[in-house]
Symmetry: C2
Subunit: 211 residues, 2 copies
């Protein structure tokens, strides 16, 4: 039984109709949900798991634009769905999970019939736009060492983070060497301990570089 807040708020009858046409897709970690250039098959609602959306520039470099988790809507798909253009980014599964695929027809019908659904879609859209605007500002104006520390702190829950420098470079939209050097500097300051594919946080605390 798919659980997603935007489905839960639908009136019973509409919800029942939608449920019948929705396809549930399980995805394992590492799977590519869609790549740049591909056409959109429907609107994915993330039920469980975590997916990162990243794009690769003309330069060949990649950057992670945002993540989707439980209860998120793949807002990016809506644009592709409506204009018929291909995706500009790609989506890669980080934690396995599942999504409900809403076909175009059902999406149109829900948009037509349910103000709640519309509101949910528009809110999701607003958040995504905000996220991207913040990312632009971050990339354009923030120092890389601060961004790295913030990134590490944001997922410091388990003390040890399993990630390669290359992957971390894509998260931040920079080069692997830059990440390696900054991490090495953090290690010298005894903020982290490094080993192959792993970063152990030891002495990193919020606002490490006070203004």
């Amino acid at each position: 039984m798919p659980q997603h807040s935007i489905l839960d708020i639908l009136p019973a009858q509409l919800r029942k109709e939608a449920m019948e046409k929705i396809r549930i897709v399980r995805f394992p970690a590492g799977q590519v949900l869609f790549s740049a250039g591909e056409r959109c098959q429907g609107l994915p609602l993330v039920l469980q798991g975590s997916v990162k959306v990243q794009m690769t520039g003309a330069s060949g470099h990649s950057i992670v634009l945002y993540r989707m988790g439980k209860d998120d809507i793949c807002t990016l798909s809506i644009g592709c769905l409506m204009t018929g253009r291909g995706y500009r980014a790609e989506a890669v599964v980080e934690e396995e999970g599942e999504a409900a695929m809403i076909p175009r027809g059902v999406f149109d019908r829900l948009m037509d019939q349910s103000p709640e659904f519309r509101l949910g879609i528009m809110e999701s859209y607003g958040r995504r736009l905000d996220d991207l605007m913040l990312l632009v500002e971050e990339v354009a104006f923030h120092r890389m060492d601060e961004r790295l520390e913030e990134w590490l702190l944001a997922r410091a829950s388990r003390g040890v983070i399993a990630i390669t420098h290359q992957e971390l470079a894509v998260e931040l939209g920079t080069a692997r060497e830059v990440v390696s050097r900054l991490l090495k500097e953090l290690e010298r300051q005894e903020m982290v301990r490094l080993s192959r594919g792993k970063i152990e946080l030891t002495g990193l605390v919020g606002s490490a570089t006070p203004a």
Copy 2:
């Protein structure tokens, strides 16, 4: 009589109703349509003129995110309208013009009643998301000299561009000094001629730095 494609496609009856509640706003060059933190009063449809949307980061630096021109929809406002949060960016008029302000109630009604209106809104949204994604890639990975040349070429229609180095720095999300130096270098190469507040394009052609 306001002219906007998303209004033109409405069925006659709905269109008539909408027109009655729409407020037409004239704006002179330089006017700030909205600033960061402000609440959204309604959805602006740009009928005429040109508006740039820019945000200022925590660092105090600004960057232009995108522009709106004739027949555009201020997609950013939709998110604010739906979530009730304030704007994250500000909008400044570049060329005077006018906009039709659609109040929340009318917007909701049009979204409810008109599939054409919905499609127009979603398309506009998709385009904006694409724009921002491209901007992220541009800012993260492209060289400043190339971005500057592209910017100049993109509005080279009149041969002379009236803009200060500071304004150009905001366009590209960099510092004034960087723009000054790059422009000076272009002048040495006889690509441009510089004077106070003006840049004259002399020898700049597309793909100035072939791959």
